[in-house]
Subunit: 253 residues, 2 copies
């Protein structure tokens, strides 16, 4: 039995997130359909994370087990041919060790959260950023971002519904910058060993509130220490969130 | 009677171009509907150019005459409220002189043409660039681009169907660069006093063929001088083209 890891990217606007569910098409379901067609097997895929409806992935990794003989370097093309114009693209594939699991073998992830900060919504970014038509001081956000770094109990930055054993996570990097493409776009990048449910979106909402002057930068350590969800900022909407990179022990692809 | 100029941007993927036509919704038609609703008049708009189906605009200017009392600074918001989620955004509006005409008063335009140069199509750019899965030497394209500059008869770079008096145009700037957002994306920017029908798309196709080694950079002056459409490169597809800037004697907005 081969264990195959696949790197994909997807535009989440058309999907009800990654994980299989009854009331809408998901990326997992679409990948299982395509791989089952390709291999003539009933394929189950294991994803690196459960992205919510509307969340995008510049890089997402899943794995599946199969007896297929398709050469590994042909697999992305075969998948893309089956997918057609489906807002998903297979970028690379690799054979991995038998015990590799895209979820549990992951050593960290990096997300980018995009904010469109203007009075006028941009039709090119409306599905790909949070439309925030308020005056935001980006400098304040830039200064506040590193205060999230380090190993903390991040339960103040977690939505109900997670099933984790611990709420301690290590944020390795948290930066805010202007986008290279649009002056009005602000990008927040956060990298951690793992994330709690909605953690990036609550950090993004909190940083936006810092930018709007509603939350003081210096209160961030206290908010973290409080472990009280009500003290953190709002949950920024899904459409601004992109999974950017998934880390494993070694480069897979 | 007020003469009002409006700056908009639009995602052309959903439209059959700018100009009114019978077999599909156009941006002109949508703007006339919205402005007629807003003003309770039968509004006709004059656009700065006839963009083809699928072509986008980062900046597009049209004007219309009306007795409306809507304050000029409120007009973009009023338009956007009526438009809803229609892939068009009104960005600014200004009162202009009685004889201003968005088409004939224009002193030049700047376009950007985007190429996605990879084996794998990117779901985020597929409606916004030409998917070109061949090996392209961007350096060659960068070197070739300035050869289009100057005042020439560009009839070799014109599709049939134009109705212009002369085919002489002045290209003020023509540059190729890597996109700031994606490594695999190549951007061609062309600025001229005016353009012939499909001129930017034929220049983009010709530059892509230079990048692929099918056309020699040094043959560009001869191709221009030949005035023979068959000697230039192919017409790059509409979805990669963006109107980026429209110039007038003075800044309108």
């Amino acid at each position: 039995m081969r264990n195959i890891a696949v790197k994909i990217m997807y535009d989440g606007s058309r999907y009800h997130g990654w994980q299989y569910q009854k009331n809408g098409i998901t990326v997992q379901e679409r990948m299982e359909q395509v791989l089952s067609e390709l291999t003539n097997e009933k394929v189950s895929v294991t994803g690196c994370s459960r992205t919510d409806a509307g969340v995008h992935a510049l890089e997402y990794v899943f794995n599946f087990k199969s007896e297929t003989k398709i050469p590994i370097d042909r697999l992305p093309y075969a998948i893309n041919t089956h997918l057609g114009n489906d807002s998903i693209a297979a970028v690379a594939a690799a054979e991995v060790a038998e015990d590799f699991n895209a979820r549990f073998s992951s050593k960290g992830k990096r997300y980018v959260y995009k904010i469109w900060n203007s009075n006028i919504e941009n039709p090119f970014t409306s599905n790909y950023s949070w439309f925030l038509p308020y005056k935001v001081d980006v400098r304040k956000m830039i200064d506040a971002a590193p205060m999230f770094c380090g190993t903390h109990d991040f339960s103040a930055f977690m939505a109900a519904g997670g099933s984790q054993k611990t709420t301690v996570r290590t944020i390795r990097d948290c930066v805010v910058k202007q986008s290279a493409e649009w002056d009005e776009q602000i990008e927040i990048e956060v990298e951690a060993d793992a994330f709690l449910y909605n953690m990036v979106r609550i950090i993004a909402g909190t940083l936006a509130e810092v930018g709007m002057g509603r939350i003081e930068k210096d209160s961030i350590p206290e908010i973290i220490a409080s472990c009280d969800r009500r003290r953190a900022g709002l949950t920024a909407p899904a459409e601004g969130l992109f999974l950017k990179k998934v880390f494993f022990d070694a480069d897979l692809f």
